[in-house]
Amino acid sequence: MIGIFRSTILTKIAMALSGLIWIGFSIAHLSGHFLLFAGQEAYNAYGQGLKDLGPLLWLGRIIFIISFLLHSFSGILLLSRNKEARPVQYKAKKPIVSTPQSRMMALTGILLFTFMVYHLAHFTWGVVHAEYSHLTYTLSDGREVHDVYTMVIGSYQNVFVCLAYVLFMLGFGIHLSHAIASVVQTLGFNHPMYNSLVKKVANGLSTIIILGYISIPASVMLGVLKLTGGH
């Protein structure tokens, strides 16, 4: 296992695979939260449903935590190696065909880490913007559950919180737009027959994911999603 990190190619592959798990997570996470548009009852039932998964939820969490650690560790390892590989910088250096997003992966990665800490502190640990974090809701079957609907919408009614999420998601979009096509290349798939398709899918998928995420705080701001008072 340790041997993997002696090879730059294997470290990159570890990075690609763990990143792929996170791309999967971001799609699943977004799909779940789209239930906000289905109303307070559906969304709160979904939140409770996740909690009811018990050990399965923890299995998922462990997979995501390991992927996160692997992705960040590989990233830091490669970054420090890459910095060492050019001890004297050029006076003039121009990008030739590289995109700004491909050169900013470490920066947008750090931004995403900051976002994750903030996001967990906000919605999972309930330590920031805590005014809506501890309300309860009674489902139609009589069960009293955590009112996650009010927590999400109430928080996004604050324009600064809303703006922070939109900006973080734009950073995520920059990271993702390079990441998806990059995974394909790193795992060894590159052929003139399907390269343009990979590019289109990568751009399309990252645009859909980012617009999807932005649509939630934006809908709150535009009044499409609003507090319903609860039970």
Partner: protein
């Protein structure tokens, strides 16, 4: 043409380098970039100054010896061209040109614009060859090879080992060079027996030399005077992974 050149001067590997500025006058637009540097050096010698050291050999774009970072781009502004084949008509009268050596830990500066590219030789020594004696050149059609494979192998074999890929990469990665060498032999029947041993040995030597890793930014492909595709890097990754899983 009259030009202002900012050229990196460095006495030897351990000395500290600096930029020196030179004016060159009456340069013909038909001169090659290296001929323009020849003119500068003649003038420096006539004035009793130390000429600027730079590498060159064939001056036909096929040997891979010339290696200059010109205004932040390896081999200068013309795509798919080595420094020796770059002509001064690509510049304008009055231009300022910054000339630097390739910058990488694995390519230490020997003097001025000359770097030591032996790291590439050591990578080749690890597997950039076929060890079986293949005898005389076989009959043209004696070994059937699919046309797309022979074309791809030929494209990869066009690598002249100049190091522009390392120079252009933000991580000073040698992935495109190694991938081209691995692919050119690995696609042909003669290269099959040692295919996986070759990729493992060459990639591991590349890592040992202190080159950076590939982050798929593709400036290497943009800078390559032979326009070798990053498709070769994907193939190298695939072969290397297969070799690791199957134990060479």
């Amino acid at each position: 043409m009259n030009l202002t050149l900012h050229i990196w001067r460095q006495e030897n590997t351990t000395a500290e380098g600096r930029f020196s500025t030179y004016r060159v006058e009456e340069i013909s637009p038909d001169m090659s970039f290296l001929e323009m540097l020849d003119v500068l050096n003649e003038r420096l010698i006539n004035k009793g100054e130390v000429p600027v050291e730079f590498e060159h050999d064939c001056r036909e774009g096929i040997c891979g010896t010339c290696s200059l970072m010109i205004n932040g781009v390896p081999h200068g502004p013309e795509k798919g061209t080595t420094t020796c084949q770059l002509h001064m008509r690509k510049f304008k009268d009055g231009d300022e040109i910054t000339i630097e050596p390739w910058r990488a830990k694995a390519f230490p500066v020997l003097k001025d614009l000359v770097v030591d590219r032996s790291a590439f030789d050591r990578i080749i020594q690890k597997g950039g060859y076929i060890s079986a004696n293949t005898g005389n050149a076989p009959d043209g059609n004696a070994i059937p090879i699919p046309k797309p494979d022979s074309d791809w192998a030929f494209e990869a074999a066009a690598c002249i080992g100049c190091g522009a890929c390392v120079a252009a990469c933000k991580n000073a990665s040698a992935s495109l060079f190694v991938a081209a060498k691995v692919t050119h032999l690995g696609l042909l029947p003669q290269g099959q027996p040692e295919r996986y041993l070759r990729v493992t040995a060459m990639v591991e030597q590349m890592d040992q030399e202190g080159f950076g890793s590939c982050t798929n930014t593709y400036d290497c492909e943009g800078a390559c005077p032979k326009q070798i595709s990053v498709r070769n890097i994907a193939r190298m990754n695939r072969d290397y992974l297969k070799a690791k899983i199957m134990g060479n």
